[in-house]
Point group: C2
């Protein structure tokens, strides 16, 4: 009786589901990168915030939050902790004194450089099933998926546009 369904429709294979594979990858990345960065303030999240800060393309905390898809109120104490650790500084934007420009300190840039190496190793471990060229290909495709994604939500779209605008001169 249940044969009927599996005979009429293509068989369901849980391993082929895109969402499942994505979930496994995210979980593995989380575990591996968390282990790689150790006691860094806010874990993987904090690491990505620091990357965005050092990148220096996001003008204020709000843009930072939207870029990473996290709540703007979270960004406040996340940056607070970074300031406490001496990784970044909050500066007033002379052009718009409502906004705080978040700049990385030398210590922050140094810390990021170290972290990036270790995270890169972790990433390669996570992608261990692929050959070296395939890893590069996968990264490229993933980057395109993320950067050139169609408008799924205005949030991400806005963030992406903002980034692209600012990178127009920065290449």
């Amino acid at each position: 009786m249940s044969n009927k369904a599996t005979a009429q429709r293509p068989p369901v294979d849980a391993r082929k589901d895109f969402g499942w594979a994505l979930g496994v990858l995210v979980r593995n990345y989380q575990n591996a990168s968390t282990a790689a960065i150790g006691e860094f303030p806010h874990g993987t999240r904090g690491y990505q915030v620091l990357i965005a800060v050092v990148g220096g393309e996001l003008p204020n905390q709000l843009a930072l939050a939207q870029h990473l898809g996290i709540d703007r109120t979270v960004m406040t104490y996340l940056i607070d902790d970074f300031v406490k650790e001496g990784l970044v500084e909050r500066r007033l934007n002379p052009a718009d004194r409502r906004a705080r420009i978040v700049v990385a300190t030398d210590s922050g840039e140094l810390a990021l450089a170290g972290l990036q190496q270790r995270v890169a190793e972790a990433e390669n471990t996570v992608l261990g099933a692929l050959a070296a060229e395939e890893r590069g290909l996968f990264r490229t495709l993933l980057r395109r998926v993320a950067c050139d994604a169609p408008a799924v939500s205005e949030h991400d779209l806005g963030a992406c546009e903002a980034v692209e605008q600012m990178l127009g001169s920065g290449s």
Copy 2:
């Protein structure tokens, strides 16, 4: 002053970070698939559980939970809700009456078939930046990354082994 760092090290580009791109993809996938499946019991999670159940490869609730990387106590009331909706049934495993075999009802299989179509559309939207062949390539690479991942955690490894054992005859 900060030019020194950017001159010595390769410039940091937030858009090139693997973790960031992965996060964007996951967020887009979540939004798109959530919209696609509508009021389905436990959202994207529930959808993936149903796939695994219909796939019929996971012997019990524990294996189901490990396969999807969620807590085993969560699986309890997740399956509870599915039973209430008539999507799945809990049967006693005659071979091991400690374990409950979770089987999809005809209604559940039908529901999944409908959902899969809509989710597939959502997935293609999310991957809209890629050409059709590239999408297939990306899916293949992602599947390999997930299925053949090296042992990052014993949890996932065990789940993957279990799946592969049971699929030994099914390809």
